[in-house]
């Protein structure tokens, strides 16, 4: 049983279908993850002065609450395997909903569960990236901005944001690539993404060599595309 190039050609259409789904889960997951990550990341440093909000007392209890909430989310997600999160969301969450509410026909689509899992999981890691980058912005710059009399919103938009975003790009690239590869785990909840397609084809023709090589190359192409996009982003930003 030698290497048959024709096997690759034959299996290409279903594999490409799988790759398309992988790409879809990754991009929607990352987009949602960015939103969650920015909220949770900023939430973790609320009231600490890094966002120009030195605690003057008035909103202190609120910012403490926000910090604990965000920290709890990050620790909870970071501390459990993504595969368990996916299983929980797909199998256990609908039961939970049924037990707690009267919605009898509640169903969770496998694809929805996959996208939400990536959103939440990436969100927790991105929160730490956001927090780290914002905290790394020199406090003197925050004070310089405040001393000019600008609002906190302006401070975040024009001073902290642009500096922090440049520092976020390399670790974000890491996280995006990890998230893309994590989609292969959704084989366990039956999402027809690239790895599952490969598995199914392999189960019918037993051409492990050709199939897994092709699957690997397809992942490599997608991760390279992500990395290149981020590198372009980084280069476009002014170096200082």
């Amino acid at each position: 049983m030698g290497f048959e190039f024709s096997v690759i050609v034959e299996s290409l259409p279903p594999l490409l279908q799988g790759a398309k789904l992988t790409w879809y889960i990754t991009l929607s997951g990352i987009a949602g993850g960015m939103v969650i990550g920015i909220l949770a990341g900023l939430g973790r440093i609320a009231g600490t002065g890094h966002l120009g909000d030195a605690p003057h007392g008035a909103f202190l209890p609120l910012s403490v609450f926000t910090r604990y909430l965000a920290a709890g989310f990050v620790e909870g997600i970071r501390g459990t395997p993504i595969i368990v999160q996916a299983m929980f969301l797909y199998f256990a969450f609908p039961m939970l909903v049924k037990a707690l509410t009267n919605i009898e026909q509640f169903r969770m689509e496998a694809l929805t569960a996959a996208v939400i899992t990536i959103m939440i999981n990436a969100g927790a890691y991105i929160a730490e990236i956001v927090r780290g980058s914002v905290v790394s912005v020199h406090k003197g710059l925050v004070e310089a901005g405040l001393s000019l009399g600008i609002s906190r919103f302006q401070l975040i938009t024009y001073v902290i944001g642009p500096i922090a975003i440049r520092r976020m790009i390399p670790p974000l690239g890491n996280q995006f690539i990890i998230s893309l590869k994590d989609t292969s785990l959704f084989i366990v909840i039956g999402v027809g993404e690239l790895t599952r397609q490969g598995q199914e084809i392999m189960a019918s023709n037993f051409r492990a060599m050709e199939i897994w090589l092709t699957v690997a190359v397809m992942y490599l192409i997608m991760t390279t595309a992500l990395a290149t996009a981020l590198r372009t982003c980084e280069k476009r930003m002014k170096i200082f």
Binding site: H56, G140, E143, S147, I150, I163
Partner: protein, 246 residues
Amino acid sequence: MPNIIEMKNVCKSFGETEVLHNIDFHIAEGEVVVIIGPSGSGKSTLIRCINCLEMITKGELIVDGIRIPDELTRMRQIRLEVGMVFQQFNLFPHMTALENVAFGPRKARGMRRGKAEKIALELLDKVGLSEFSDKLPGNLSGGQQQRVAIARALAVNPKVMLFDEPTSALDPEMIGEVLDVMKSIAKDSGMTMAVVTHEMGFASQVGDRLIFMDEGRIVEEGKPGEVMKKPGSDRLRDFLSHVKHH
């Protein structure tokens, strides 16, 4: 002249440690007050309290008629009227010199870009840096950066300027250029200034009043020449001898 800044019985604590004890302090309009004292004496904290970078823990602060802590919501108004220059310059590293200076007028004063940049260019010219307007801070020397920082603070058109050890982070040969700019601001535009510094020459030439702080208290104050010639306390005498010999 009326007082533009007043502190009444002000205390400031960081956690358990009180670093300013019952300070009574004022600056009249147009006055240049120089604050000296050993490190840890609370002089930086004192001027940082004026623009609310540090919040006073007790007492009352009145800046241009705005009362802290009663009118906390008007804190931004205070910051618009009080410019600050920092020891470490703190220029925005992602903006050119011109953008740094135009930033305040544009964002804090809501000016249109063209007008803000015109003001910024004039100020850069005033501090002798008009040909460096498109340089990023990383490509400027320490002295140049500090002069841009002074222009940036002036651009918002404040009534008072605070200087927190503006020459302490500079190489010796660059101190003069920064002090010259500060002198011209004080003399030409009659700016009200509070300057924390160890530059005794500047204090006696430009200062209207000298304040010596130690351990969170104002120990001595008066005309710079007189206070320096005849220090009333051992602590100031001791401090002056140390400053002069370096």
